[in-house]
Symmetry: C3
């Protein structure tokens, strides 16, 4: 169990370590936001590499310090690549982050997300509807059988996903980050709400996906809970900062990357978050 104070210390340490070590966090991710994911990982201080083919997934699971799997825009080859990557990461005990984007749409996504239950990720990041649907797919408390995911957007509130998040975290032994206006991060034993960000984050594509990639970077140097919290706090800091400089969604995206790149360990560790009951 972390105190608020040790959380802040661990976050600051994670930010510093990533900038010093530049850990490689390879990704299998969607084509829509892949550039943003890579640039966000670099802005946080990590190293990015994206792949599609099965044996490349294995090679990068070995080469990387952590890994990111985002099931956003599935291609046929993912049927082979995603299971192999997860198996390899599991065998190597490497932390990896799952973003169950658009869960419920299409048979391959359901097949892959079901199978990933066997190789639990260190961190699951999603919006409320995705977290609820994943808990449902994995037959855990708080989940529902049918997904409320509307395309790629959530129709549930973060608090509605609280039980699902806790049961997913308990099942994986890792952490879950539910993204929303106020974000919820839990490892199943404790939870915090993280504040900040900007409403403009929903008016550009990729804040969720790239947060998953950045959490993967932090997972290379911190516990799943601290990595999830650190990534979320960094995004809440950068979002708030970017909003001050933005004249619209184009300049917001630019200012967001600038803020993420310039964020100090203190900037991120001193963002507002509060303990939540579990």
């Amino acid at each position: 169990m972390y105190t608020m104070e040790t959380m802040r210390q661990e976050i600051a340490a994670a930010v510093e370590k990533v900038r010093a070590l530049k850990p490689l966090a390879p990704s299998i991710t969607n084509t829509v936001t892949v550039n943003f994911v890579a640039n966000a990982q670099l802005a946080a201080g990590g190293t990015a590499a994206m792949i599609y083919l099965p044996d490349e997934a294995e090679a990068l699971a070995e080469a990387g310090s952590s890994f990111y799997i985002n099931v956003g825009t599935l291609l046929p080859i993912y049927r082979e690549t995603v299971p192999l990557a997860a198996q390899k990461l599991h065998a190597l005990h490497k932390p990896w982050v799952l973003d169950p984007v658009a869960i419920g749409i299409g048979s391959l996504r359901t097949e892959l997300l079901s199978l990933l239950k066997n190789y639990p990720p260190a961190v699951i990041r999603g919006n409320a509807s995705e977290i609820i649907a994943l808990a449902g797919l994995w037959n855990l408390s708080g989940g529902t059988e049918t997904s409320n995911v509307h395309g790629v957007d959530s129709t549930d509130t973060v608090q509605a996903a609280r039980l699902a998040a806790i049961s997913l975290a308990r099942f994986t032994g890792g952490a879950v980050a539910v993204s929303g206006t106020v974000d919820l991060i839990t490892d199943g034993r404790q939870a915090v709400c993280s504040y900040g960000g900007s409403s403009l984050m929903e008016s550009i594509t990729g804040c969720g996906c790239s947060l998953g990639g950045v959490i993967a970077v932090y997972s290379a140097v911190a516990s799943p809970f601290i990595a999830a919290l650190c990534g979320t706090a960094a995004y809440n800091f950068a979002g708030r900062e970017a909003e001050r400089h933005a004249a619209g969604t184009g300049s917001f995206q630019l200012a967001f990357l600038d803020a993420l790149y310039n964020a100090s360990p203190k900037d991120i560790s001193l963002t507002q978050f509060t303990p939540e009951e579990v």
Copy 2:
């Protein structure tokens, strides 16, 4: 038949409705500009979701209010996905927008574009050469057998595509938007020329593709003709506005998204357009 005045009213209404309803307009689109398409759809007020797999196309054809098919960078799976999407949209009577990018290059593109004649789109958007080539492929007046498409760029003028645009619109019962220095929009019964924009729009990639995606968003709440005109007018407004703030193509792209995001119903409906004989 719309008067100039009712066109302006309908455009303003479409812009407002989209911002209020945030309609989902899923896309099958190319990997080069997919991020720009999504961000432009969001800036206009819509919701974006991109997919590659056949059953996901069907699921999103059902979930979405409209759809966008851009044949820019074809992948092997498109042989299954594109026909299924079009059939489903046709069966559901949902409006969808076709961008016949690079028509004439490769056998799969020709095969798919030929087949799409059976499931006519609500709006076709392309440059002059693409519109002429599509009319040719579909054996309609104004088309030519061989394409003058040079890579992805037009070698014909918008006025040269006038007859092709009209015959395509009459065939589909929808609308056609021909993009160029001055844009032509027609539903086969009436036509307008839309003015504005910026020469910088041809110096960045994706203005055409993302306009198709934005027209798909407007198609969710307006007739094909108004949607095509509204999207084109929004682009002409945003292009002109962005040019005033741009110091080059990088800052132009950013300023363009900002302007699209900030454009009011009045800004868009009061852009310059004039009636054209049909």
Copy 3:
């Protein structure tokens, strides 16, 4: 053999010719940076078109003035597309640029890069580790059997890749550009070091990939050596210029495209470069 003075004249001429002729330089390239590649090619004055399918590669090899093959994020179809493109380009004697990104990772990349030895590119661009590994794969002096590529990043210095670059250039009869803090360009008979740029270029994704695409554009109007040098000098100019305007990695990317778009023949030809012994 060029003198420093004739190099500067040829560079200025290449920049001017590209802006006048807008040559089409189609690409097979990775999904991470494909948008940046296209926008950089446009900013330099060229025309871009990206494809995945075998017969489209052949069609664009014919339509284009040059070509760019970047093996960054391989897809299964590349097994057919890449060899066909290279064969066609070879048969047509068209200059093409190879970027051996991530050489050593995965069997398909190794298979394709081995095979490309039979259809030598006009220019090879890579970081030091990639150049050393490619020379190794092609059994040329200066290469090593095992790759030191870490994900997509170099772990070797540019000077360490000097012999490999020279032997690759002698083998292909073209040129090699080794990117690093100081860049090395050689055609096997002479070599120069090119200075400038910015450390921020490594903090965003795609400077290497898009440089390959821009060199392909210049290859349409200049010798491989001049094209490689011209592209590298343009990047060193734009990087230095952009750094002056950047408040972080987001604004750097924008300012970089602006600078590339605005760079005059003089700006690029007068960047600092010095002769190196071969």
